[in-house]
Amino acid sequence: MAGRIQARDEQDGAGARLRQVLDAYPHYLLLAVVAIAAFFAMPLSVWLSLTVAGLAMGLILFVVSSGMTLIFGLMGVLNLAHGAFITVGAYIGGSVFLMLVGWPPLAAVSHALLIFPAALATVAAAALLGVVFERVIIKPVYDDHLRQILVTVGGAIIISELIVAFWGAHEIPLPRPDSLRGSFVIGGVAFEKYRLFAVGAGLAIYWGMLAVIHKTRIGLLIRAGVENGEMVQALGYRIKLLFIAVFAAGAALGAFGGVLWGFYEELIHVGLGQQLLVDVIIVIIMGGLGSITGCFYSALVVGLLTNYMGFVAPTFSEFSSIVLMVLVLMWRPQGLIPVVKV
């Protein structure tokens, strides 16, 4: 069925040129508008530290959201169980970390280093969970968004309940290693160490994802598979494995986000993922469902905006991202960088 497609007006002239640029780079524009508006609303030192904090928070949000947008973008599956993956990640990462910390042979090892094996274990376990989830829950409902929504919501319930059955309903404190506490203070502006750590992780994941999708044959296959899975098979590739892998990657990303978030809040609880899901959804809709780049920039914008608003008008900071999302959608109905036609 041919969708209604608007032909682009291609008039010449400076105005049209500007519109073209804005059309091509809406994410830069949005980021700039938010940052510049805030610049005039607060003292410089405050602006600096909030900008740094906001960008870092944005990167954490990106990590937390990227798995969901990846799965939607590449497989067209709307996975509302993403929040549950985030929670699972926090639990697995947290427990492995606490176990390692409490293990005598490792007593001499810096706790900060132990985050890495914990994260690794989480990613592996979550990927496995993702495979099971894809096989058991998602496989029967490819191509049916409505049933995907239902099934993944059901799956999320099951996962959360299993978490409670396994770990109990208590909150689990997850003290962060001392070396990731506190800030570097430079010229009166505090840069939190953990946020800098998260920035590193977020950027690495972003570039990693872009590289895999745009530079490797696997990325090529995935992009092709989304458009025409049958043809990919007819070229001799086993698309099922590919899709399972994508789902596993999405789950692993979500879980890694959960670890990152668990250490940020220093507390793990069953509602952790659900509580993040709304922000995740705002980020991925605003970015353009399925777009990694869009997700990245809209996460940054949301991170910045909530920080600025938290200073200027804390009462409204909660609504600010929803309002922004609505505005962005009125401007660009498919989000900043649309990829998947919905």
Binding site: M1, R4, A7, R8, E10
Partner: protein, 269 residues
């Protein structure tokens, strides 16, 4: 065609549409007068379906104007144009799959009556619409399958329903996009007879995209040739088909010298 005739019902002026860098229809100007059946021919990708989309409002032109009954309808959306009486059948079958054949036809028959927003009366209680549905059910010989879900119909019957819906809409402009494609040989005449009957009423505009040249010859009053989005030629069927430009661009060198009569273009939808 003749300066004495009243202005044509449908007039396209310099219609163009561009997709990214590709111009699918380029500056096509053309008049369609009541009482004529115009066949649109051209190789695949020439822009025939796109041209239909421009006329019926599924696509908005990048530039150019469109008049219907003396009124500029360039910016009107598809529903509005259908309300005015520009109806079309689709090249790829385009039905309401989980509704019955009768309901499909009902939707077409009531579309221009304005009954759609009524909530207090049952849909089946509109006698006039019901009669129309029954009438067109018979015309496309689907009466026996009236209660089948459209999705369960064989392909050929789906094509018939597609045409039936256009008829039930009772528009003033009929657009058929390869109506017989995918239909089995013995059923093709049913549809062609229907189109012929509309043409013979001589108060409608009929547009027909068709690859089969014998069909075009027997039905069309006029032929338009599209090639790479441009209007290559137009005129009386025999004259257009004979023109060397058309021979080269559309029909190509004849590959089968044996059957000189039949056009070699045997391509499927």
């Amino acid at each position: 065609m003749h300066s004495s005739t009243p202005p044509a019902l449908l007039q396209a002026r310099e219609l163009s549409i561009r997709f990214g860098g590709h111009t699918a229809v380029e500056a096509v100007s053309c008049d369609f007068a009541t009482g004529t059946l115009t066949a649109i021919v051209g190789p695949n990708g020439a822009g025939k379906t796109t041209f239909f989309n421009l006329l019926s409002g599924q696509l908005a032109p990048t530039s150019g104007r469109l008049w219907f009954d003396g009124r500029d309808i360039t910016r009107l959306k598809a529903p509005k144009r259908a309300q005015l009486g520009i109806g079309r059948a689709f090249q790829l079958t385009n039905l309401f799959p989980e509704l019955t054949v009768r309901e499909n036809l009902w939707l077409a028959a009531s579309a221009r009556t304005g009954a759609g927003f009524a909530m207090h009366r049952l849909a089946n209680s509109y006698m006039a619409i019901r009669e129309r549905v029954d009438h067109y059910l018979a015309r496309v010989s689907l009466t026996g399958r009236a209660d089948w879900l459209a999705a369960t119909l064989p392909h050929g019957d789906q094509r018939k329903l597609e045409v039936g819906m256009l008829l039930a809409l009772e528009p003033r402009v009929f657009m058929f996009d390869e109506p017989t494609a995918g239909m089995s040989v013995d059923e093709v005449p049913v549809i062609l007879n229907l189109i012929q009957a509309i043409r013979d009423e001589r108060d409608k505009v009929v547009l027909l995209v068709e690859h089969k040249m014998d069909v075009v010859r027997s039905l069309a009053d006029r032929i338009i040739v599209l090639h790479e989005g441009r209007l290559l030629d137009e005129g009386e069927p025999e004259q257009v088909i004979a023109s060397p430009l058309v021979q080269q661009a559309y029909l190509g060198e004849v590959l089968v010298p044996a059957d000189a009569g039949a056009a070699p273009e045997g391509d499927s939808p």
